[in-house]
């Protein structure tokens, strides 16, 4: 007998009693009057910032105004996507501008899953991550978010909330553990 069959046989034999699956939609979950305000308030403590694009301003205008001396910039919202040969080729990226499909007010998270991106390493190698989200695409909580997400990028998708961070040294919060040191969410 293979390990698989032996394990499954033991699990079948040792089945405990259990309830039926509960309906997770039967319980009211948290909601917000002003979702953008909730999102923006939260992300400030998570090494990020959220803004709404001003009239007539473009995403790149905003990015350049914020980081005038930025290094290599990659824009995944543009029509002709740059596609490197290896995922490692994104290592020197300073600013990555990435479309975010959906934002979640309760957790300041943005859903990222880009159908035309080859190497997701960009999201994690870049020093500064800019997520561009449609203004209307903001939901209250994670349950509402999971009802709407799709896995478009080679089966990959991630919720990203603020900057990469750690508190592994004496519980002191430090931004920029391995991934982006700064996270900017622009609602357009």
């Amino acid at each position: 007998m293979t390990s698989r069959d032996a394990i499954l046989a033991r699990l079948r034999q040792n089945r405990p009693q259990g309830p039926t699956l509960p309906d997770i939609h039967a319980v009211p979950f948290l909601g917000f009057e002003d979702r953008f305000a909730a999102f923006a308030g939260l992300i400030r403590n998570l090494g990020g910032e959220a803004v709404q694009l001003a009239e007539g301003e473009s995403v790149l205008d905003h990015v350049r105004a914020r980081w005038p001396d930025h290094g290599r910039l990659v824009d995944l919202t543009s029509a002709n996507l740059p596609q490197p040969v290896r995922p490692h080729d994104w290592n020197d990226v300073d600013v990555a501008v990435v479309p975010g499909e959906l934002a979640v007010a309760e957790s300041a998270a943005v859903w990222v899953s880009h159908p035309d991106n080859t190497f997701r390493s960009l999201y994690f190698l870049t020093q500064k991550l800019v997520l561009v989200v449609p203004r209307a695409a903001i939901v209250d909580n994670m349950r509402d978010a999971y009802a709407r997400i799709r896995f478009r990028e080679h089966g990959f998708g991630a919720f990203i909330s603020g900057s990469s961070r750690t508190a592994d040294i004496e519980q002191s919060l430090v931004m920029g553990a391995h991934g982006a040191m700064a996270a900017l969410v622009i609602f357009v």
């Binding site: 699990l11 040792n14 994690f124 089966g155 961070r165 750690t166 991934g179």
Partner: protein
């Protein structure tokens, strides 16, 4: 890996020698517990969420075999290769086989308590593979050649000065620079090079979705993402209890996990993997290693609902005052103190006594495991298996005798209340039940039973 024989009370006593560090450990971890409370209080539906999480997990455990089969089918449809390991040894052999076939020399790992449980690192190192733990806390304890002391905060037992010294020696950072930001960024630069030169990445699994055949990995650092986005081979090791039936259930679990673990609304990265990335391979190793046995034990199977958030250790008054290194099993604190003894009562019996039965763990657990009740049941097993030290055993037997003979207990109490206050201090301060620096409380003039009776007579209800 942990040393073979750790006896909780002795190890805890050794840790408590350094009072200042012990106090710091206690308060640092209590702070995390308080952050968790703040998050919980912000969700009116918190208790309802815990109930949902418990029911989803309890349901899943009642047909785990079906959900695992569905998971495998759906994962394979997506081009993922699924492996099954009956025990730690088989897991290690499968992982090594995959690495060897791909000619891997360097493996970057993100946090996985399962691979600690299986002793994967030493196994791979014996086979000539360089293993780099990439979670900052895990990297610190790896460089110190010691096990993690907490499942979420692996290096919480260390002070920054110790980490500074370690990094000075291992990474060449400035001597005496104890700034956490400086030290973290030094590790970032060093580990970035390892990510870029690794041949394979290994992650744990927080949740595996039967309906979609995908897995979810949660980190704040982004190390699991870098470790799987750069090298072409991704291996994910999962305990077979990580299954949840549907994608929508993540709408419950991702709301509970980080709030319970670290007092954040969510982890920075909640990454979902369903297919190998272009030009890559994705392998998932499903591990039993004793879990199917626990499933069949009516007293303890609920421990398999655990999502490894660590909240039970953060709240535990014994854990906070003794560190994870005082527990013999690789997972410390309340959940470890039921999982360890379930696995091997002879080796881990002392863990079941590292508990005041205050029940705080069961109250914070996001999947409502009856932890403190399980610990009491594990004590009985430890007693019956004859794993107790003679003094402890005699004490428990005397206690049992007294409880079964109430008149004798009353009389004994009376004598103690009269005699103890007039005993010379040297006698009470240094008994088998006391330690230097501890004093007996003042003896009350009446017993609880006497007070209760008086009260009943004054206020008959």
């Amino acid at each position: 890996m942990k040393p073979a024989h750790i006896h909780h009370p002795e190890a805890a006593a050794a840790f408590l020698q350094d009072r200042e560090q012990a106090r710091w450990h206690d308060s640092a971890i209590w702070w995390v517990r308080q952050k968790r409370d703040t998050q919980a209080s912000q969700l009116p539906e918190w208790e309802a969420l815990r109930t949902l999480a418990r029911e989803i997990k309890a349901h899943t455990l009642s047909r785990l075999d079906e959900y695992l089969v569905a998971f495998q089918e759906n994962a394979e449809k997506n081009g993922v290769v699924v492996h099954w390991a009956a025990d730690a040894d088989e897991h290690n052999r499968i992982v090594h086989g995959l690495l060897a076939a791909a000619g891997v020399q360097k493996l970057v790992k993100s946090k996985s308590m399962l691979t600690e449980e299986c002793g994967l690192n030493p196994y791979l190192e014996q086979h000539g593979i360089e293993v780099i733990d990439t979670d900052l806390g895990e990297r610190i304890v790896q460089l110190r050649q010691e096990p993690p002391s907490h499942i979420v905060m692996p290096a919480i037992h260390l002070k920054k000065e110790q980490i500074s010294e370690l990094f000075h020696r291992e990474l060449g950072t400035e001597a005496g620079n104890n700034d956490p930001t400086y030290l973290t960024h030094a590790a970032r630069a060093n580990l970035r090079q390892h990510f870029l030169t690794a041949d394979a990445g290994l992650t744990g699994v927080n949740f595996a979705i039967a309906e979609t055949g995908g897995i979810v990995v949660c980190t704040n650092e982004g190390n699991a993402d870098l470790g799987t986005a750069l090298p072409p081979l991704h291996i994910a090791s999962m305990g077979l209890e990580k299954i949840i039936p549907r994608l929508e259930h993540l709408g419950v679990f991702t709301r509970l996990l980080a709030r319970s673990a670290i007092g954040s609304p969510i982890t920075t990265y909640t990454s979902h993997f369903h297919r190998p990335r272009p030009g890559g391979q994705l392998h998932i190793v499903i591990v039993d290693n004793g879990r199917s046995q626990i499933l069949g034990d009516a007293d303890f199977y609920q421990s398999l609902r655990c999502i490894r958030c660590g909240a039970c250790m953060n709240t535990c008054p014994v854990y906070r005052r003794s560190t994870g290194h005082s527990y013999s099993y690789i997972i410390p604190g309340p959940i470890g103190s039921t999982l360890g003894p379930s696995r091997d009562i002879d080796q881990h019996g002392s863990m079941a006594f590292a508990c005041t039965t205050c029940g705080s763990c069961s109250n914070v657990c996001p999947v409502k495991i009856n932890l403190h009740e399980q610990l009491v049941l594990q004590r009985r097993r430890a007693f019956e298996a004859g794993t107790l030290k003679p003094v402890k055993k005699m004490g428990l037997l005397a206690m049992r005798f007294a409880i079964r003979h109430p008149a004798l207990m009353d009389a004994g109490g009376k004598v103690m209340r009269k005699v103890v206050p007039v005993l010379p201090a040297a006698l009470t301060a240094d008994s088998a039940w006391s330690r230097a620096g501890r004093a007996l409380p003042d003896m009350p003039s009446k017993s609880f039973k006497e007070l209760w009776r008086e009260r009943q007579q004054e206020n008959p209800s």
